[in-house]
């Protein structure tokens, strides 16, 4: 861009973006941008939007293409060299299964959601930022598919990821999260996704998977992670700008934004419950414990952020204290749930071995030995007797976050937390005060939730028996589900590692189990 001597960079970028729009006179602006008012956010001057990054389209093409070339050459090399055999242990692959079925579809949803916001905002500044993010998110879902495509060829559980995302019980947790954000208006969407999710919680969602890949020898996924890192930092910058812009435009926006921050912090935190179990149980080589991550990324970094936002009248999100109380139990409660219901999940679970239990004891000195180790030891003893236990009673789900009601009272880790609300003659159940408040504020929205367990009982999921439901999920019984110990994945892994005899024993167990 050396043609120009007189405009500075900022001015030039403004000419190249916001100066492209005009004040319409043949159509009403409110017809061109029909969604800018209904959420109650007041914007007086779209030009006050500070562009969080200044990237012209030609520069974007150039940088991104370079990153793509590097990434694909590594993905190709990985496939050619059977890089999947270099991971620490085949149990690790289960974290990737959770990622492809639970997280990659959210990248796609973000792509579409930011396209909507990029079309609906009334100012070119945010339009362009959102459109850039939209196309980045498409990049992420597509590069994730291409990275994991190779794993799909050698491991079970990946083979029908999008079909599963629309149907399988625990995947309604991430799906409903994004459906919730996208079915709101553009301002709530960016508060939910750009701010609460990307800015406040990315280090607890995206990064644990990528660090997990790095620690566990998964060169393909970690390369994707590095390649996406600069995109992610652009998205985080957008998240902060969005919030500041709304707060600075009109003080009437403050309580609305605070309400959204409260809601989306809690929605995001509940979604992260899946990540907590991944960090503490699914990585053969662990990066850090969920508790340590929550302390570092939320309590310290998040705390500093909200101190900074206090000058706008924004306080810490409601119920953050509960997340601190839960940090020593969250991952254990969730992993136990999947251990219970693994016959209906598209990844394997297992009882942690003694060294892993020792790690959990060290990381969770106040809870693990007291509450969870005895549980695992009991399950292990049943397995040793050849009676690996699965729970055949379907769980009650929280109407808001859609996680089974397995969380415990904030001040009592031995009592399950139940909350409920009555609405139009029906009773609705919640896992927490956070989820109950969200429902009570928008009951007409949350009564619509497609709750997987309700749907099974209503006969909408292929039938009433587990095999019928699994078939409807496209989940292959005996291949995708159940304990890792008796899995084809494990048998194949042992065979590939040259441990043929053990592989044969496992395969027999697969047949018998």
């Amino acid at each position: 861009m050396s043609a120009n001597q007189r405009l500075n960079l900022r001015e030039k970028y403004q000419k190249f973006t916001r100066d492209l729009a005009w004040e319409p006179s043949y159509q009403k602006k409110s017809d061109i941008f029909p969604q800018t008012d209904f959420e109650g956010i007041h914007i007086h001057d779209w030009d006050k939007w500070e562009d969080p990054f200044r990237l012209t389209v030609d520069a974007y093409w150039k940088y991104q293409a370079e990153k793509e070339k590097k990434l694909y050459s590594i993905i190709d090399a990985f496939a050619q060299n059977n890089g999947q055999l270099n991971v620490t242990d085949a149990r690790y692959i289960n974290a990737l299964k959770l990622f492809l079925t639970g997280v990659s579809p959210l990248e796609y949803a973000a792509h579409r959601g930011f396209a909507m916001a990029g079309r609906q905002f009334g100012g070119v500044g945010p339009q362009v930022s959102c459109q850039m993010q939209s196309i980045d998110e498409l990049r992420h879902v597509q590069t994730q598919i291409h990275t994991i495509s190779h794993y799909n060829k050698y491991f079970n559980g990946f083979h029908d990821w999008q079909h599963m995302h629309d149907r399988v019980w625990y995947l309604s947790v991430p799906k409903s999260f994004f459906d919730d954000a996208m079915s709101a208006g553009p301002f709530e969407f960016v508060t939910a996704i750009s701010f609460s999710f990307e800015y406040v919680l990315t280090n607890l969602l995206f990064m644990p998977f990528m660090s997990g890949a790095a620690f566990n020898g998964d060169m393909a996924t970690v390369t994707f992670g590095f390649s996406a890192q600069s995109d992610e930092s652009r998205h985080m910058t957008l998240g902060l700008e969005v919030i500041k812009f709304m707060l600075e435009q009109d003080e009437r926006n403050v309580p609305i934004v605070q309400k959204w921050i409260d809601k989306w912090f809690w929605r995001g935190y509940r979604l992260l419950a899946l990540v907590s179990m991944m960090m503490d149980y699914m990585l053969p080589k662990r990066v850090m414990s969920w508790k340590e991550a929550w302390e570092m990324y939320f309590e310290q970094n998040g705390g500093a952020l909200f101190e900074d936002l206090a000058r706008y009248g924004i306080r810490m999100p409601k119920y953050w204290e509960v997340t601190v109380k839960e940090k020593e139990r969250l991952s254990h409660e969730v992993w136990s749930t999947f251990y219970n219901y693994d016959h209906a999940a598209a990844f394997h679970s297992w009882v942690p071995d003694e060294a892993e239990m020792q790690w959990l004891t060290t990381k969770y000195p106040h809870t693990f030995d007291q509450y969870y180790r005895p549980r695992f030891e009991h399950w292990q003893s049943q397995t040793d007797k050849g009676e690996r236990w699965y729970n055949n009673t379907l769980p009650m789900l929280c109407q808001t976050c859609q996680i089974p009601m397995v969380f415990t009272e904030p001040d009592d880790p031995t009592t399950t937390c139940y909350r409920s609300s009555d609405y139009k003659g029906e009773k609705y159940h919640f896992c927490s005060d956070g989820c109950k408040d969200i429902f009570d504020d928008e009951p007409e929205k949350y009564v619509q939730a497609w709750l997987p367990v309700h749907q099974i009982y209503q006969g909408n999921c292929g039938g009433a028996s587990v095999p019928e439901v699994l078939e409807w999920y496209h989940l292959r019984d005996g291949e995708d589900n159940k304990d890792y110990l008796y899995s084809q994945d494990r048998a194949n892994w042992l065979k590939w590692k040259g441990l043929t005899e053990e592989a044969e024993r496992t395969l027999k167990a697969v047949v018998n189990g």
Binding site: A3, E11, S25, Y26, K62, A115, G118, H159
Partner: protein
């Protein structure tokens, strides 16, 4: 860590994802385009009706009158997914960058006769606003369209159009010596000069068009199908006659881009038309409607660009578009309306 790999023992369990295998009819290796395109968009079990459109689901086939039994019969002949798209554009921007640098280094903009430099700026630079509308319209298709096959391609086009708007802005800066005066004057014209008003009206009307497939037809087939040959071919020839190929070098990106993108647009319309007579009739009705609007809106601009040839050229371009519709898309639109230019 060393691993002993026995080649026979790492036979793959499957060759692609099941959804792709179902569509290909067999489990066989699939291209990256197909694996990253098929079925990406959720189709079932949506949780909440959108506040902004309670009559429809989050993704809903009912946002257009076009009906398809399968929205993944659409294929992009360019096989663009993010990686191939961005690498193709990076190559083109590299060529464009060299052209801009060449023109700048040799001060070619200064060698243009001032009347023609002024004319080029006056007639090219306002189009950056029209490109912005095209950006918004394609973004609309990407946001509210159905099926990743179409929506991802529309998103690429949307970003392409922002890029073209920025190239046109750079041309303005090159022609005005970097002062941005040409951009300011172009905006003034776009808002007020009679020659641009029918086009601006058209742009605003497109931005409130709610049926996303109609918008795709109107913007990407009809408007672009006449605008691009008019500006980057016919007007370019006039400029070339009077002032050499300087401007052509700066608009080469647009020319190449249009030829390439038309392949996707044609295939999209052809596929929708081939689905049913109802689709075909709907597409033809939209085309007929928007061809008249586009001809009316572009005629004053064509007159400015081409003088007394404008009427004949507009007829030719409409005839060419009708032929393209027939030949490439299997659609029939009427003869061009009598030229409105004097």
């Amino acid at each position: 860590m060393t691993i002993e790999i026995k080649t026979t023992s790492v036979e793959p369990l499957r060759h692609t994802f099941d959804n792709v295998a179902r569509r290909l009819g067999a489990d066989k290796p699939a291209s990256r385009y197909l694996e990253a395109m098929y079925d990406l968009q959720p189709t079932a079990n949506f949780h909440y009706r959108p506040y902004w459109d309670p009559d429809h689901a989050l993704y809903d086939t009912g946002r257009t009158r076009i009906e398809m039994t399968d929205w993944y019969v659409f294929k992009d002949p360019r096989q663009f997914y993010y990686g191939t798209w961005t690498m193709a554009r990076a190559k083109q921007q590299d060529a464009a960058e060299r052209n801009f640098a060449f023109v700048e280094k040799r001060n070619l903009a200064d060698t243009l006769e001032s009347a023609w430099r002024e004319k080029a700026a006056r007639l090219l630079v306002p189009l950056r606003h029209l490109e912005y509308a095209a950006n918004m319209n394609n973004c609309y298709v990407a946001a509210y369209g159905y099926g990743t096959a179409i929506t991802q391609a529309a998103m690429f086009v949307g970003i392409d159009r922002l890029g073209i708007a920025q190239y046109l802005s750079r041309i303005g800066l090159m022609l005005d010596g970097g002062s941005a005066e040409s951009l300011d004057a172009a905006k003034q014209d776009w808002m007020q000069a009679p020659v641009w008003q029918p086009l601006r009206r058209l742009a605003e009307d497109l931005m409130v068009t709610r049926d996303w497939f109609e918008l795709l037809v109107a913007q990407d087939f009809v408007l672009d199908g006449i605008l691009y040959p008019l500006v980057y071919d016919r007007f370019d020839r006039v400029l070339e006659q009077h002032s050499g190929s300087t401007i052509s070098m700066l608009t080469e990106f647009m020319n190449e881009w249009f030829t390439e993108t038309s392949r996707w647009v044609d295939m999209t319309l052809k596929t929708a038309a081939a689905e049913s007579d109802a689709n075909k009739a709907q597409l033809e009705q939209w085309m007929g409607h928007w061809v008249d609007r586009v001809a009316e809106a572009l005629t004053p601009v064509a007159v400015e660009m081409l003088g007394s040839d404008a009427g004949a050229v507009m007829d030719e371009l409409q005839t060419a578009l009708a032929q393209r519709a027939t030949k490439k898309c299997g659609l029939h639109v009427g003869e061009p309306a009598p030229a409105m230019a004097s």
